[in-house]
C-alpha cells in the first residue's frame, strides 16, 4: 500500500511542502486538506495591490490546478474537527476519516479579535484571507472616513492603500510607536511621518474604551475621552497560531506547535511548518515563531524534505518586508537583542538602515527606503548574520563603501 502524506492547512507553507515532498518522493499519495475552497494563494497583495485593484484574484494563486494535477498532489476543501494522533487519523464532523502515515500541520495563524461589550463585533472587519479582503473592498466603496485599529504591518498597509483610494484614514495604536513589536523606533517614526504626509491621522498611546453606533456612524471613545467618528472600522491587532484542534491532544503546544529544527513535533511522524510552528532555531539556540512570506515558503520546503526522508535543518535568517506608499521596509535577523546600533544613511530616498550588533557581531538590520533602495544591503546583512560575522562598523557607516565586500566566500 502507498504511503499517505497529509498536509493539514492550505496556505503557502502547505503548497511548498507538497511540491518539495513530490520532488523527493514520486510514489507517496500527497493530499492537502484546506478549510478554504481556494488553491493556495499569495497573501501579501491582499492589503495592497488587491485593495488597489492592481491585482485581481487570478493573479494571487501560486500555481494553477494543472500544476498540482501534473505533480499528483490532491487538494481537498474540508474542515477537520478531530485528530487521533495515536491511530494516525483525522476526522470531519460527519466522521469522514483521513488516515496518514506522515502529517504536516500548516494551519497558519488567525486574527486576534477585539472584544467589545456591545453587539458590534460583526461591525469590525479584519483582513487575513481573500474572502475578507473582498468584503472590505466591496464595503468601503461608499465609505469615506475609515478607522484602523492597530498600527502594525497589516493596519499600516491597509492605511496606505485606503489613503491611495482617497479615503480619510485614522490609525489608532495602543503603543507609543508604530509596529512596536518588532520594528525599531527610528524606522517606525519615519514610516509615521510618511503616513502623516499622505494625510493619514496617526493616534498613538491610546486605548479604545468603547465603540457606539449611531445610525451608520461609529463613535470610537478613547481613554483620553476624545471621540473619533468613522464610517467603517478595520482591526489588525495581531494574530495567534491556529492550534485549537490540538488543544486536548498530546501534541506539545507552546506559543504554537513546539517543533525542532527538522520541523518535527513532539509526536512521531507529525511535522509542523509556517506561522503555526514555534521552532527551534539552531543559530539563536531558542524557539522562535515567525509570520512571514519567506518563512512560510522556506519552512514548508524544509518540512517537505524531512517528510520525504531528506533530513534537513532549518536555520533560515528571518526576513520580512512591508510596502507602504512608495516605501519598502525590510527587516532581517534579530533586532531586539543588541549592544550597539549603527546607522547607515539619513535620507529615505537613498535608504536608511539601522544595523544591530552584539559583541561586534552583526545580528540584524532594519531599513526603509523608496522602493528598492535597502534590499541589497539588507540581503547582505542576512548573509552576514548566517555566519555570525564580526563586522567593521566604519564600513557599515560609510554609504560610499559597498557592503558586498563584507561577504566571505
Amino acid at each position: 500500500m502507498k504511503n499517505n502524506i497529509i498536509i493539514l492547512g492550505g496556505g503557502q507553507a502547505a503548497i511548498y511542502a507538497a511540491r518539495e515532498v513530490r520532488k523527493n518522493d514520486t510514489d507517496s499519495n500527497i493530499k492537502i486538506l484546506s478549510e478554504e475552497n481556494l488553491l493556495p494563494y499569495e497573501r501579501p497583495p491582499l492589503s495592497k495591490d488587491f485593495l488597489l485593484n492592481k491585482k485581481n484574484e487570478d493573479d494571487l494563486y501560486f500555481h494553477s490546478s494543472d500544476v498540482l494535477k501534473n505533480e499528483n498532489i490532491d487538494f481537498e476543501n474540508v474542515l477537520i474537527n478531530k485528530v487521533d494522533f495515536e491511530n494516525k487519523k483525522l476526522f470531519t464532523k460527519n466522521d469522514d476519516v483521513y488516515s496518514y502515515n506522515s502529517l504536516l500541520i500548516s494551519t497558519g495563524s488567525e486574527n486576534k479579535k477585539l472584544s467589545l461589550d456591545n453587539n458590534l463585533n460583526d461591525d469590525i472587519y479584519y483582513l487575513r484571507n481573500l474572502e475578507e479582503a473582498k468584503t472590505i473592498k466591496e464595503k468601503i466603496l461608499n465609505k469615506n472616513k475609515i478607522t484602523i485599529i492597530g498600527g502594525g504591518f497589516i493596519g499600516l498597509e491597509i492605511a496606505s492603500s485606503l489613503s491611495q483610494l482617497q479615503k480619510k484614514v485614522t490609525v489608532i495604536e495602543i503603543d507609543n510607536q508604530l509596529m512596536g513589536r518588532i520594528i525599531p523606533k527610528q524606522i517606525a517614526d519615519l514610516v509615521q511621518k510618511s503616513h502623516i504626509e499622505h494625510g493619514n491621522d496617526i493616534i498613538l498611546n491610546k486605548q479604545i474604551d468603547k465603540i457606539n453606533k449611531k445610525n451608520d456612524i461609529y463613535e470610537i471613545l478613547l481613554n483620553d475621552n476624545s471621540i473619533i467618528e468613522t464610517d467603517f472600522i478595520i482591526a489588525g491587532i495581531g494574530s495567534t497560531p491556529s492550534v485549537k484542534l490540538f488543544e486536548n491532544t498530546n501534541l506539545k503546544l507552546d506559543n504554537g506547535i513546539a517543533t525542532n529544527q527538522y520541523c518535527e513535533t513532539s509526536i512521531k511522524d507529525v511535522y509542523a511548518a509556517g506561522d503555526v510552528s514555534n521552532f527551534y532555531h539552531p543559530l539563536y539556540k531558542r524557539n522562535i515563531r515567525l509570520e512571514s512570506y519567506q518563512h512560510a515558503q522556506n519552512h514548508g520546503i524544509c518540512a517537505g524534505k524531512n517528510i520525504a526522508g531528506v533530513k534537513t535543518e532549518y536555520s533560515s535568517i528571518p526576513w520580512m518586508w512591508s510596502d507602504q506608499f512608495n516605501l519598502n521596509l525590510q527587516l532581517t535577523g534579530i533586532c531586539d537583542d543588541y549592544d550597539e546600533i549603527v546607522e547607515r544613511g539619513n535620507d529615505i530616498n537613498n535608504g536608511v538602515i539601522y544595523f544591530f550588533l552584539k559583541n561586534k557581531i552583526i545580528k540584524g538590520a532594519c531599513g526603509l527606503g523608496i522602493v528598492g533602495k535597502v534590499g541589497r544591503d539588507i540581503r547582505i546583512t542576512s548573509k552576514l548574520c548566517e555566519k555570525n560575522t564580526i563586522v567593521d562598523k566604519q564600513i557599515l557607516l560609510d554609504e560610499t563603501q559597498k557592503l558586498n565586500k563584507l561577504i566571505q566566500k
Binding site: Q294, N328, V371, G372, K373, G375, R376, R379, N404
Partner: protein, 105 residues
C-alpha cells in the same frame, strides 16, 4: 559597428566584477552585469513587481530583486525563487575594444 541593434553601453571598466549597472535606451531599461566569466544583460525591471533590479544583489550567476528577493539566473533569465515566477528577458552582449554592446531586438 556595422550590424544593427548593437547598442553601446559603456566601457568594460565601468562595471566591477560581480556587479551591474543600469542602462537606459530609448524607452527601455536594462541591467548589464559583469560576472567572473564575462558580461551579460537582462531587462531592468523585475517580472514580479515594478522595481528596477539595479539595486539588487549579484551573487555568482544570480540577481536578487531588492524588493521581495525574487531570484533570477542572469545568464538564462530563469526565475529561480519566488515571488518571481516569470523569467527575465536576456540580451546578447559583446565586447569590442573594451566597450560593451548589447543587442536589443
Amino acid at each position: 559597428m556595422s550590424e544593427e541593434n548593437w547598442i553601446e553601453v559603456g566601457s568594460t571598466d565601468s562595471i566591477e566584477e560581480e556587479d551591474l549597472i543600469r542602462f537606459d535606451h530609448q524607452d527601455k531599461t536594462f541591467c548589464v552585469y559583469r560576472l567572473t566569466d564575462g558580461f551579460y544583460a537582462t531587462d531592468g525591471m523585475c517580472t514580479h513587481e515594478a522595481v528596477h533590479l539595479e539595486d539588487g544583489l549579484v551573487m555568482d550567476d544570480e540577481i536578487e530583486c531588492p524588493m521581495h528577493q525574487g531570484i533570477f539566473n542572469i545568464k538564462s533569465g530563469e526565475a529561480l525563487s519566488p515571488p518571481a515566477c516569470e523569467d527575465l528577458k536576456t540580451y546578447p552582449v559583446k565586447v569590442d575594444n573594451d566597450k560593451i554592446f548589447i543587442k536589443i531586438d
